[in-house]
């Protein structure tokens, strides 16, 4: 009996050691997107403010892809007949890297990561929508302000579960049956590129960026972005892509002034 308990003690000690290791450090998988939480962000506080669309500065630019565009992988949607039917004629492609016809990169999150005055910015009353449509998230990358409403829709005639995996915000996992009302959620804290997935359809991936101010954008079909209404100042403009990571550059912009900040991402 004594030896039995000694054996049990050894097992317990091993479990404790392993869990200590777990809490001390970890590793990221190669496909994990770059994340930054509150990195270089202006703290909340001070008077509420809105972007000055009439007199503020504007920063525009584009994100160019340098290299041979990678082939977009075909996703196997056969696990669900509804999804397979939706893509019977045009197979669903992974949107990890989408190079536009003009050689620019789509789905790049662009934001002012540093330089803004210490202000609390007014949260828009309009919601940002993410739709589960054709067994994929549309759009693939979205951005919204901390506290802004996120509307999650299911336009598919099948079940989905939406499961964001934030590190500083509260995670959630909710099922959404076909035809049900949209789910409304908010993220109270700034967090960049929160991975979102559907565990029912394991190919469905998306990213949500939550920012404590309104100066951000996501590149679309022409690879360009525009950030308007900035107070005069010098800012760090950072781009974040789920595969190619981050880049930044400093831009100084005055009142009513327009500056360009282009980026090149090497494939």
């Amino acid at each position: 009996m004594k030896r039995f308990w000694i054996g049990s003690g050894l097992v317990s000690a091993l479990v404790a050691t392993a869990f200590t290791l777990a809490s001390c450090g970890g590793s990221s998988t190669p496909t994990e997107a770059p994340k930054s939480a509150d990195a270089g962000a202006p703290p909340a506080g001070g008077p509420a403010a809105t972007p000055d669309m009439d007199n503020g500065g504007t920063i525009t630019g584009k994100v160019t892809f340098d290299g041979t565009p990678p082939k977009m992988a075909t996703l196997d949607t056969s696990a669900n007949p509804v999804c397979a039917k939706a893509h019977a004629t045009s197979p669903l492609k992974a949107e990890e890297v989408v190079v536009n016809p003009n050689g620019t990169l789509k789905n790049v999150f662009v934001w002012v990561s540093a330089g803004l005055p210490d202000k609390t910015w007014q949260v828009p009353t309009t919601a940002v929508t993410i739709d589960q449509n054709g067994c994929q998230y549309k759009p693939h990358v979205i951005a919204l302000m901390a506290g802004q409403n996120l509307e999650i829709k299911n336009s598919d005639p099948t079940n989905h579960n939406i499961h964001p995996q934030p590190t500083v915000n509260q995670d959630f996992n909710e099922s959404q049956a076909p035809g049900t009302a949209p789910i409304d959620k908010t993220f109270p804290r700034q967090e960049i590129m929160i991975p979102v997935k559907c565990n029912v359809h394991n190919w469905m991936r998306s990213y949500i960026s939550v920012v404590s101010h309104p100066f951000f954008a996501v590149t679309s079909d022409d690879g360009t972005y525009t950030i308007k209404g900035l107070p005069p100042g010098t800012y760090t403009i950072e781009i974040v892509h789920e595969k190619y990571g981050k880049q930044d550059q400093q831009v100084t912009v005055g009142a009513k002034e327009s500056k360009t900040a282009d980026f090149t991402v090497k494939g």
Binding site: R3, A18, G26, T31, N173, S175, N199, V200
Partner: protein, 274 residues
């Protein structure tokens, strides 16, 4: 008392528990662990829509319910028919472990997968399987008393293999780098070889050695499949196959080490039932 039917039933429980471990591994490998966001019901009902990842998760839940019932029946049967108190206690320990395991699984779903809970869930699965294997071994070897551990080698091998199960789970859930698991594999393999060489029972020792070596290659395969397919949409079938096989063979190796830990009591003159 002729307990051959009880023994056969225990083997069935052990096989079902092993299949449950495999089912759990398939859930994780297919990234389907949270495809059913509610628990104990599934999408608010007993049988959810069986599509996509829900199929894996629901099959795991059904299998878990079956194993829980079978384990309770086993404990009750042992209580009535088994003269050895330590064997009866093993049966109830298995019930406790299976019920705790169910609670951990439910908590992981309700709390949206805190890493520690999911890692604990994966590790407790090995203990559940190990406890039932111990009952089977106790019946097969007709041990009258709790086995005397006269040789530390098999016990150390079993502890090392369980440690590997913990590290493997931590790697899967991103709580540790794969380096810890690789170092652990080297240590576990050495300990298994040591145990295999010291134990006079050839067949169980050979089984443990074969399983452990297979496990090393399956681990390499799982890692390589992940590296080769890193640019492909995950999870890839090859990665799922290697990872699930790695978990399955790991459980079998742990079970074999438990059998060997109990076996020396016989080999070294432990008291056997008449």
């Amino acid at each position: 008392m002729d307990n051959s039917r009880l023994h056969r039933f225990t083997v069935v429980v052990a096989v079902c528990t092993f299949l449950l471990v495999v089912a759990g591994s398939l859930v994780t490998s297919n990234d389907a662990a949270l495809s059913v966001p509610d628990w104990p019901l599934s999408y608010g009902r007993l049988v959810p829509p069986l599509e996509g990842g829900i199929r894996y998760e629901f099959a795991h839940r059904v299998m878990a319910a079956l194993v829980a019932v079978l384990t309770i029946v086993l404990a009750v049967w042992l209580e009535r028919a088994e003269p050895r108190r330590w064997m009866r206690r093993l049966g109830w320990a298995a019930v406790g472990a299976v019920l705790l395991q169910a609670g951990l699984g439910g908590a992981a779903v309700r709390l949206v997968t805190p890493k520690t809970l999911t890692i604990a869930h994966a590790c407790l699965a090995e203990i559940c399987f190990g406890l039932v294997v111990a009952v089977v071994a106790g019946q097969t070897m007709q041990l009258a008393e709790i086995p005397r551990i006269s040789d530390p080698a098999p016990l150390m091998a079993a502890v090392a293999l369980f440690g590997q199960a913990i590290l493997g789970a931590m790697v899967r859930y991103g709580a540790a780098g794969v380096g810890f698991h690789i170092i652990g594999a080297a240590i576990a393999t050495i300990l298994v070889m040591w145990a295999g060489l010291r134990i006079p029972l050839r067949r169980p020792a050979l089984a443990l050695l074969t399983l452990t070596f297979s496990q090393v290659f399956l681990g390499l395969g799982a890692y390589m499949a992940r590296v080769v397919n890193v640019t492909m949409p995950q999870p890839m079938p090859l990665t799922v196959a290697f990872t699930s096989a790695h978990v399955a063979v790991g459980s079998l190796a742990f079970g074999a080490a438990i059998v060997l830990t109990m076996a020396p009591a016989v080999a070294h003159g432990g008291v056997a039932l008449a």
